[in-house]
Symmetry: C2
DNA sequence: TAGATAATTTAGCCAAGGCTAACTTTTGTA
DNA sequence: TACAAAAGTTAGCCTTGGCTAAATTATCTA
């Protein structure tokens, strides 16, 4: 089934890593998961405000494929985190902090998508994979993506 | 702060996507999160068995940076899922299915790491980013990574 | 402008995956 | 071989992020 391959480490024994280093890596991944919700929301909210002037819970729910009560709950978490400002039963807006985060996330998202496209991946797949990948791309890796793009 | 860039879409308006397509993308990401635990565990268990003959909960806990009770709980979930076989108070082993999954995950992991290294990213960072990224790489994207590696 | 419809929230449920404290079993050694 | 230390489990707690059903508020339209 798995045809013999031959790039780099493929044939080496697994890289030996100190348990603590490995544990730290998993801690980073767990942490990334915790900020994913916030990042996805501010990103989408910024997009909705830009394209239609406001971000309504009903639209957020539709885009995420989630029910309205879930959005209400998450929005209130974002409010607690200081990323979002709003009045009950009204549309959602971003605080300064929320805007800054959204800006950074959208930039990263664009870079990841562009990078995947540059590998010859189709748009649909690039967009979907980027959604999951972007939250786990370190600054170093993002820079590497940019470098590759610039010399295309 | 953000210097003007110029790769691909960077300067375009956000890609307009149908809400359903976007929702499906997020559903896929959520699904990936649900299988992450299983994938990380079988991957590590396979590694431990290979390097020291058995996978003990205490070692699994250390590598993940997690407490033993968490490992017990998750192992029992894997058992329910048919990925793992074991007796109480004993080391953990993989079922056929578990081994197959571990094999696929390790292969994917190696490819992602090798690909990041090929971009000039340092080992430590490549290893850490791969940990998060690997679970969100589609078959198409994995193939694209392989193609790039093969022509290096 | 009143009443129907649409949007939002509240309350309460669930599973996942963390944790600590306390208990049991296994292992290693005096 | 008995007992101390190490490993594993159990019980019970917490937060996150889903859900449904039902209540409330806003909006649209006849």
């Amino acid at each position: 089934m798995t045809k013999p391959q031959s790039h780099g480490r493929e044939t080496f024994e697994p890289v030996e890593r100190a348990p603590e280093a490995q544990a730290e890596g998993f801690a980073i991944v767990r942490q990334a998961h915790e900020s994913e919700m916030a990042e996805d929301y501010v990103e989408l909210i910024a997009e909705l405000i830009e394209t239609r002037g406001e971000a309504r819970p009903v639209d957020i729910a539709e885009r995420f494929g989630v029910k309205p009560p879930t959005v209400t709950k998450n929005i209130s978490r974002l409010r607690t985190a200081g990323l979002v400002r709003r009045e009950r039963y009204r549309a959602v807006f971003l605080t300064e902090e929320g805007q800054a985060l959204a800006e950074a996330c959208r930039r990263r998202h664009r870079i990841v998508v562009a990078f995947l496209l540059s590998l010859g991946i189709d748009e649909e797949t690039a967009e979907r994979d980027a959604e999951g990948i972007e939250h786990h791309v370190s600054d170093e890796t993002l820079e590497a993506f940019e470098r590759k793009l610039d010399r295309t």
